[in-house]
């Protein structure tokens, strides 16, 4: 029997149909369905959670569909190239530190008309200020995190220190340094680690400036102010961590990405770690039952890291009003509660306490994080969610690193950082 043969024309025809199908699939929408794409960091429980909330939204909105995608690679590279091609997702999960540039250059959509008026009342002023600008609302802060002090119970017992549990009893810098010296002696290596995760998270050290009464940028959120005595004092404090051997040089603002802070704690080389809630899972796995928590350190003022994410609608969206409606839906009290429960996140809404979320474990630790969130200063939020922050953070990472390394004195750091910051803000 002669086998059927496939000619060139047939191959071309099949290829054409396949190509057309593939292109239609890329477009992701049929003519009568309003399709939205939401992009999130690749955190599996969050992807599931977003899709679950989105499915509930779709059920209430016939003729719509929502797909959840993953933000890949370096964020700015990913987002800028997609915006340029007008292919950015409709909704983007973005950090406060990344949001400023895009809110300023018209890449994000104003959500003002789509958000219920009473929403504003359930966010603290700093948390609402992340997305709020004079000319509109460019994002809603969905969940937060910050830094507290984790400690090794055995080390604290050994040195006879009872760590504080309430914010008002938090260790001041001088107390903390004294205890750190004892912890260092107990571990035989270092005293504590700090929760940097590569140069792009250098800003996590900024709360120290605010704890000392200083500021990274002035009240206008634009004028560099790293030349004040308070800012220089904070740099001196940071420098002392390394001159006194309290922190490992492998744990610095710029080099040593990943979770060096966790590793140092898990390997017993430090007895304390100033870091975020991500540490809980790591410490539970490596050292279950051996760690406790205390509030973030403070000095003349209180401050902690501004972690968390905002939901925003991009200018690439073909259905911006529907996308804005979905953002409002995802940031409703009920959905933030669900999202924080499923992903073990800290809620951005003030009315939600740890017991409302119903965390699977460590409710007391999560409540401490919620309480600590109230110490994040408005001026730091404005600085970090400002237009130039991405560039300013790179400058901060460079010069803080040089200061901590001892390549520059705190005063030289201040001078050179100011010069570099001014060159950014005067563009």
């Amino acid at each position: 029997m002669r086998r059927p043969t496939v000619g060139r024309r047939q191959i071309l025809a099949v290829a054409g149909i396949t190509m057309a199908g593939a292109l239609a699939a890329c477009n992701g929408e049929s003519t009568d369905t309003q399709h939205l794409r939401l992009s999130s960091w690749n955190i599996p429980p969050d992807l599931v959670s977003y899709q679950k909330i989105a499915d509930a939204f779709v059920a209430d909105h016939p003729g719509t569909s929502v797909s959840v995608e993953v933000t890949t690679g370096q964020f700015h590279q990913w987002f800028i190239t997609r915006l340029a091609a007008n292919l950015a997702p409709d909704i983007i999960r973005i950090t406060p530190q990344q949001l400023g540039r895009y809110a300023a250059n018209g890449s994000l959509v104003d959500l003002t008309g789509s958000v219920p008026e009473d929403y504003r009342d359930d966010w603290s002023e700093p948390f609402w200020a992340i997305g709020q600008r004079e000319n509109g609302l460019y994002g809603i802060f969905q969940h937060t995190d910050n830094f507290i002090t984790y400690y090794d119970k055995q080390v604290m017992e050994q040195i006879g220190v009872q760590p504080p549990t309430r914010l008002e009893d938090a260790w001041r810098w001088d107390e903390f340094l004294e205890i750190a010296q004892e912890v260092k002696a107990a571990t035989g290596h270092y005293a504590f680690s700090y929760g940097w995760s590569g140069s792009e998270t250098a800003y996590r050290w900024m709360p120290l400036i605010y704890q000392n009464g200083g500021a990274f940028l002035g009240e206008d959120g634009l004028t560099p102010s790293m030349d004040t005595a308070e800012a220089i004092g904070a740099l001196e404090f940071g420098r002392s961590w390394y001159t006194e051997g309290l922190v490992s040089p492998s744990n610095m603002s710029k080099s040593g990405g990943g979770h060096v802070d966790f590793d140092l704690f898990n390997t017993g080389q430090v007895g304390m770690a100033l870091t975020n809630p991500e540490a809980i899972a790591s410490f539970d796995e490596a050292r279950p039952g051996e760690w406790g928590v205390a509030p973030m350190i403070r000095n003349t003022g209180e401050a902690s890291d501004l972690g968390g994410n905002t939901l925003a609608v991009t200018k690439s969206s073909k259905h911006p009003e529907l996308a804005a409606e979905l953002v409002a839906y995802m940031t409703s009290r009920e959905n933030i509660q669900t999202f924080c429960h499923d992903g073990n996140w800290i809620p951005s809404r003030s009315s939600l306490a740890a017991e409302d979320i119903g965390y699977a474990d460590h409710e007391d630790v999560m409540q401490l994080f919620i309480d600590q969130g109230t110490t994040i200063p408005l001026s730091m939020v404005k600085a970090q969610s400002g237009e130039y922050f991405s560039s300013l953070n790179a400058v901060f990472a460079d010069y803080l690193d040089l200061c901590l390394l001892g390549e520059l004195t705190p005063r030289e750091t201040s001078e050179q950082m100011m010069e570099a910051m001014l060159s950014v803000t005067s563009r």
């Binding site: 890449s107 140069s199 040089p249 492998s250 080099s255 990405g257 991405s390 390549e407």
Partner: protein, 300 residues
Amino acid sequence: MSRPAETPVPTGRRGRRLTPYVFLGPAALLFLTFSLVPIVIAIALSFQDTQTLGEGQWVGTQNFEELGSDRLFRTALLNTVVFAVGTVPTSMAIGLALATALNRPLPGRGLFRALFFVPMVAAGVVVGVVMSWIFNTDYGVANNALEILGLGRIPWLTSPSMAMLTLILVVVWTRVGFCMVIYLGALQSVPAEIVEAASIDGAGPWARFRRITLPMLAPTTSILLILNVVFSLQAFDIIYVLTGGGPGFSTTVLIQYVFRSAFQDGQMGYAAALGLVLVAILLLFTLLRQRASKKAESFL
């Protein structure tokens, strides 16, 4: 005896005229789309002030003028040169030594060749992550091994003076296999009769290597030199993961600064100008490579 099948040759004048274009077309289209057009756009971008891709203001040569007063550019350029000087000759020398050792009957020769080549195949990001663990000052394998031997810890990645050396060490490790494979190929084309003749004339192993093998490898060495320089100028992923350009600015190289200017600072025009400087350097070495290739052809 049957005649071999002949490729039909277009007979008409039009057919003869079109044939080369049909063959060149797909490659030319790809080159045009993915190389030439982006290069032209990048050149245009380098004369603009723009924060995002798409819209910008023409600023003439301002971006290039700013390069002159940019301290970080000078540091990155110097680091790039140090990195290239540190990686290129070392990789080639070790590659040649390994190729010479493996170019003779040896048990497990194939396995050794494969093992030395594996790092070249591994993704740069993976190498960076693994090496950041190995060379961690506090809990890395490297320092643990040194301590077992009774030696002190080395601040591999945490000291500005050591970080570049560590980086060079890692990159040399990844690149040695490539140099070895190229040299192995070249060594096998060195005529055995010449080496034998020299042996009979009383030349020892070192004299044979220096007077015969090395000169005959000269064209390969020239090509490898240029290729390695190009690799070093393009090295990004390992540095990005391993040191992030730090501590301080000690490992910030030019390609990293291009990336930072474009995507972290949002200065697309300035980044394009920086990129063109890099292209100019690469172009210079590519020209040298072409000359080396011609020399190699004339030698053969």
